[in-house]
C-alpha cells in the first residue's frame, strides 16, 4: 500500500539561505512519527511547507495519492492535514466552543446567503456543527471551559484546545509543533496518553516536532532527524539514540576528542 504522505526532495530557499535541503519523508497510515533536530534546523519550515504556508523552491508533496505541492493552507486543511503551532495560535478573544466550531466551518456547504436567511439546509448544518463541537470538547476533556475565552485558559488547556481545534477539521494527518513545550514531566506523560488516545479514536496519523526526548522516544514509532536543513538520520527511537551523527548534531563536535 502506498504511504499516506510523502515528501520528495523538498528544498526551501529564502534569498541566499537554504533553510531546507532535499528533505524526503514518507509516513504510513496510522504511524506516529517524530521530527527532531537542534534549534534552527528547519523543522517548523518543513511544517510550513507541508501545510502550504510556504511554497517549496523545489520538490513535491504527495498526500493520499494526490499532489498537494503549492496548494494554499486552507486547501491543504480541507484535504485532511491539520496542524498546531509552536507558539500557540488560538483565537484568543473567541470562546473555546467557537474556536472548535471554526474548525468545522469548512464542512459548511450552504453559501453565506443561506446562512443569513437561515434556510433549513443551513440550520441543519449549523446544528450538526454545534453538536459535534460539544462532543469533541467532551472527548478531549475541555467541556467545562466551553464558554470561556480561549485566551483565558490555563496553558496546558490551551495546548489541548489547539489540538482539539485541529481535530475539528477532521484530519487524516495531524502535525504537532512542539506539543509538550512548557510542560512538566507529568504533563508530558499525560500528553503521550492523550495523543495515543486520539490516534485511536480519530483514526489519525501524527507527525510531531518535539524537543522533549522522553516524549519523542516514548511515543514515536519512527524518527527523522534534521540538522542545518538536511536529514541526517531516520529510524526507530533505539536506532536514533545510538546514531553517532545525531549525537554529534546535538552535542556538537568535542574539540578535545578531535585533537
Amino acid at each position: 500500500m502506498a504511504p499516506l504522505f510523502q515528501a520528495n526532495n523538498l528544498v526551501m530557499q529564502f534569498g541566499g539561505l537554504t533553510a531546507v535541503n532535499k528533505v524526503s519523508m514518507s509516513i504510513e497510515k496510522g504511524e506516529i512519527v517524530g521530527l527532531i533536530g537542534p534549534n534552527g534546523a528547519g523543522k517548523t519550515t518543513v511544517f510550513n511547507i507541508i501545510t502550504g504556508v510556504y511554497r517549496p523552491t523545489s520538490g513535491s508533496l504527495i498526500f493520499n495519492g494526490r499532489n498537494i505541492t503549492g496548494l494554499r493552507p486552507d486547501q491543504v486543511a480541507k484535504l485532511g492535514i491539520a496542524r498546531t503551532f509552536q507558539n500557540i495560535r488560538l483565537f484568543r478573544d473567541l470562546t473555546v466552543q467557537e474556536n472548535v466550531e471554526i474548525g468545522y466551518h469548512l464542512r459548511i456547504h450552504s453559501g453565506p446567503w443561506r446562512a443569513v436567511l437561515r434556510t433549513p439546509k443551513y440550520v441543519a448544518e449549523e446544528k450538526m456543527i454545534k453538536e459535534r463541537a460539544s462532543q469533541l470538547l467532551a472527548q478531549v476533556g475541555l467541556v467545562e471551559y466551553r464558554h470561556e475565552k480561549a485566551g483565558a485558559l490555563p496553558y496546558g488547556a490551551q495546548r489541548r484546545l489547539e489540538i482539539a481545534r485541529a481535530l475539528a477539521t477532521n484530519p487524516r494527518l495531524l502535525l504537532l509543533d512542539e506539543p509538550a513545550a512548557g510542560m512538566n514531566p507529568n504533563e508530558g506523560l499525560e500528553l503521550m496518553a492523550f495523543l495515543r488516545e486520539i490516534r485511536k479514536q480519530f483514526d489519525l496519523t501524527i507527525l510531531l516536532i518535539e524537543h522533549d526526548m522522553r516524549v519523542v522516544m516514548g511515543i514515536c514509532e519512527r524518527i527523522y532527524v534534521l540538522d542545518y536543513g538536511t536529514l541526517i538520520a531516520e529510524g526507530t527511537p533505539e536506532q536514533i539514540q545510538k546514531n553517532p551523527k545525531v549525537i554529534q548534531a546535538y552535542l556538537g563536535v568535542d574539540d578535545s576528542v578531535r585533537d
Partner: protein, 297 residues
C-alpha cells in the same frame, strides 16, 4: 516636444521629486521603527509653511531666521505628536495607532482651518530664490536648482547620522527588533523621539521649499503631498532611506512627465500616484530597495 522642453520638464520633475523625497524620508523612518503610517506627517509639512509665513509676515523676522525657526518648531511639534498621540499606544494593536494617527492628522488640518483661516495665503519668496536665469534661451528658476541641491546635502547628513553615529546605530537596531534593542540598553523612547524630530525637520524643509516653489499656502496643503510621499516611500522600499529618496524622484519625474506627454490626462494627476501604489503592492510589495519582511509563523 523639443529637447529643451523635455529638459525643462525633467528639471521640474527632479525638483518636485526632491521635495517628495524629503517628505518621504520621514514616512520611511517612522514606518521602519514603529511600523506606523504616520498620517499626520503631511500636516507637519503644512505647519512648517505657516510658521515660516508668520515669522516673516507678523514678527518681521529675516526670512532665513524665520525658516530656521520653522524647522526647529516643526521638529518639536513632530516629537510632541509622537509623545502624546502614539507613545501611549505603543503596546496596542497597530490599527489603534493608525486610527490615532488619522485623528491627529484631522486635528491638525482643522486646527489649521480654525487658526489660520480657510483662505490660501501668499507665501513670501525672498529675492534670492526668485531669480531666473537663462540656459540656451530657456528660463530656469534658481529654485529648480537649489531644491535638489538642498535635498542631496540633507540626505548626505542623514545617511551619516544613520550609518556613522551611535544614535544611528540604535535607530537601525530599533527598526530590526524593538525588544532586543531595549535589552541592549538602548533607550527606545529617546530613539523614537529622535526619529520624529529628524523626520519632521526634513518635512519642514520640504514644506518651506514647497511654499517657495508654489507660493500659496493653505491648511489642507499637506494632504496630497503627504499621501504621495508615503507612496514614494513604498515605491522605494519602506524603511529604507535611500529608497525613499529614489522613490520620491521617480514619482516626481513620472508625474511631471505624465502631464507633459499626455495633457489630456492632467485631471488624473492626483490619482496617478495611487495607481502606481497598487501596481507596486501587487508586483513588488517590497519596493525597489526593500527587503522581505515575512511574518513569522
Amino acid at each position: 516636444m523639443t529637447l529643451t522642453e523635455f529638459l525643462q520638464h525633467m528639471a521640474n520633475g527632479v525638483s518636485l521629486g526632491s521635495l517628495y523625497a524629503l517628505i518621504a524620508i520621514g514616512y520611511t523612518m517612522v514606518y521602519g521603527i514603529l511600523r506606523l503610517i504616520n498620517f499626520a506627517h503631511g500636516d507637519i509639512f503644512m505647519i512648517a509653511a505657516y510658521v515660516a509665513f508668520f515669522g516673516i509676515g507678523i514678527f518681521s523676522l529675516p526670512w532665513w531666521v524665520s525658516f530656521i525657526l520653522a524647522v526647529v518648531i516643526t521638529a518639536f511639534i513632530g516629537a510632541l505628536i509622537e509623545r502624546a498621540g502614539y507613545r501611549p499606544l505603543r503596546n496596542s494593536p497597530r490599527i489603534s495607532v493608525l486610527i490615532s494617527a488619522i485623528g491627529i492628522s484631522f486635528l491638525l488640518e482643522n486646527l489649521g482651518l480654525v487658526l489660520f483661516g480657510g483662505r490660501p495665503k501668499a507665501f513670501y519668496r525672498p529675492p534670492v530664490f526668485a531669480q531666473v536665469f537663462l540656459v540656451k534661451g530657456v528660463a530656469v528658476q534658481v529654485l529648480t536648482i537649489y531644491i535638489p541641491l538642498v535635498t542631496i546635502v540633507l540626505l548626505a547628513c542623514l545617511l551619516y547620522l544613520v550609518h556613522k553615529t551611535k544614535t544611528g546605530m540604535a535607530m537601525r537596531a530599533c527598526s530590526r527588533d524593538f525588544e532586543t534593542a531595549r535589552l541592549m540598553a538602548i533607550n527606545v523612547d529617546r530613539i523614537v523621539s529622535v526619529t520624529f524630530v529628524v523626520g519632521s525637520a526634513l518635512a519642514a524643509v520640504g514644506g518651506i521649499m514647497w511654499s517657495l516653489k508654489f507660493p500659496q499656502i493653505h491648511p489642507l496643503m499637506g494632504i496630497f503631498p503627504g499621501l504621495k510621499c508615503f507612496i514614494a516611500a513604498v515605491l522605494g522600499g519602506i524603511g529604507n532611506i535611500t529608497g525613499a529618496v529614489i522613490g520620491g524622484f521617480i514619482l516626481g519625474i513620472l508625474e511631471i512627465m505624465l502631464v507633459a506627454f499626455f495633457p489630456a490626462l492632467s485631471g488624473y494627476r492626483d490619482a496617478f500616484a495611487f495607481v502606481i501604489l497598487i501596481l507596486i503592492l501587487l508586483f513588488r510589495p517590497t519596493g525597489i530597495l526593500g527587503e522581505t519582511m515575512a511574518e513569522k509563523v
